[in-house]
Symmetry: C2
Subunit: 273 residues, 2 copies
């Protein structure tokens, strides 16, 4: 059951130099599910732990796009179960079934598995059916923190993380949270700000923010944070809607102290320099 993996950095990225993976003999084992946060995108933002778990398991389950990212990590002996987007419940069911067969399963999730990710669904299914499975959540770098690092240091003080997707949450609940977070002068990170179908939420959110925050409050927009295709820009509440915001965008709105310098967005912590 011991595992040893070796990774190497080369000019063209991370490669597996050599691997001596000893996977468990699946027979007579209690199933195990690892819900693994992959971090924001490129594999170098994986934790060493996540890397190790993905190398060790018998089965990797995930959304197609993220499975593709892991292509170089997964070897031929590992089973891969991939499904399309919005198939979260089906995917979880498949992962649970594989674990019930005594297999070691990695259910992968982008960012941190515990933030709008797959961790909750796996645990809800385990709880609802009182399943005797070992579940471990492997945390990852969530989109708010990844986008913040690209922008500078906007999350240096108290912050709120809010998803604008009303697919699973009533819009009134989201509106109330936007109001409270803005009134409390939190830095605010918005997940799922806009999709092809949902185009009005980001406008309403901005209107709410403008009731409590100045029009020149800095706003950072990061698309595909920490992926090869990353794009970022720093604007303000007044002008934020003039920039492209889509499904792979994280939007960060500053607090009353947030300032910009060159292409940086910085929220002071309060130190005297």
């Amino acid at each position: 059951m011991r595992t040893s993996s070796i990774i190497e950095w080369k000019e063209d990225g991370i490669t597996l130099k050599e691997a001596e993976i000893t996977r468990s003999d699946s027979s007579n084992c209690r199933g195990e599910i690892y819900v693994v946060g992959l971090g924001p995108g490129d594999l170098e933002y994986l934790s060493i732990k996540a890397f190790k778990v993905i190398k060790e398991v018998d089965v990797v389950v995930g959304y197609n796009t993220y499975i593709d990212l892991l292509e170089d990590l997964i070897d031929e002996e590992q089973e891969v179960i991939s499904t399309g987007m919005t198939k979260e419940v089906d995917r979880t069911q498949l992962a649970v079934e594989a674990a019930q067969d005594g297999k070691r399963v990695a259910m992968i999730s982008s960012g941190d598995a515990g933030v709008y990710g797959m961790a909750g669904l796996v645990l809800e299914m385990v709880a609802e059916n009182e399943l005797d499975l070992s579940v471990e959540i492997i945390p990852g770098i969530t989109a708010a923190n990844a986008a913040a690092s690209t922008l500078g240091a906007p999350l240096m003080h108290d912050y709120a993380v809010i998803s604008l997707s009303d697919l699973l949450t009533p819009w009134e609940v989201i509106i109330d949270r936007l109001e409270k977070a803005a009134a409390g002068d939190f830095v605010i990170a918005l997940y799922n700000p806009k999709s092809k179908q949902r185009t009005e939420q980001i406008k309403e959110a901005r209107n709410i923010f403008l009731k409590h925050k100045a029009p020149d409050t800095p706003v950072g927009i990061v698309r595909s944070a920490k992926r090869g295709t990353e794009e970022m820009m720093i604007t303000d509440l007044e002008n934020m809607l003039n920039h492209e915001i889509n499904m792979v965008t994280t939007v960060i709105i500053g607090n009353s102290e947030t300032f910009t310098f060159a292409d940086l967005m910085i929220t002071p912590r309060g130190y005297e320099l």
Copy 2:
């Protein structure tokens, strides 16, 4: 200027199998500072990128305790500058000076460098003095996400991150944020909940939460998340003060939907199972 590192997992943890580190010739270089989030504790929660940067730089700057964690990573040719806690401004000054000498510097920070960490201070100093330095922030897994993964999946829905330390922030501002976050039914992650000197803030915070949240709202308490000495427990608002809370503790208070099952704390995202 190319770097290649190889790490290996053994029974006793991560070791460097072989390293061919080519550091920059410091003369005539523009200085570079990497502000590196180490993640919650044990080195396996480092991102591969953070690992690589720490191996590459000429100088590693940090708080003693975190420098000690990196002992096996840092080699003899690397300069180490460590200072005590609360010396954040001094430490930043030393990092900036080393970079101004043309060196490549890693300023390390626990968790995510951009959440109550060193990223803001480094960038504030660069902005205030309009320094011509290259600064890159390497994100990490912040304590809220690490503690959440230990507890199950409490941060699966909108959440607020609030520090109870009033050393740099007026207590009235913190109280107002606690009020707003509780009234908005956010899941709430508390950083710096209590120290030897600050013992009343966590009591006041609880009183504020009880105005808006039920006494049986689940509360997760995690000490030393993802370190060898990790301890966790799940309680509720009514009873949370009966458990040890200290400087290395993260406290997570559920929203109105959060439930517990066995030793798990789960906030549903809203899926139909």
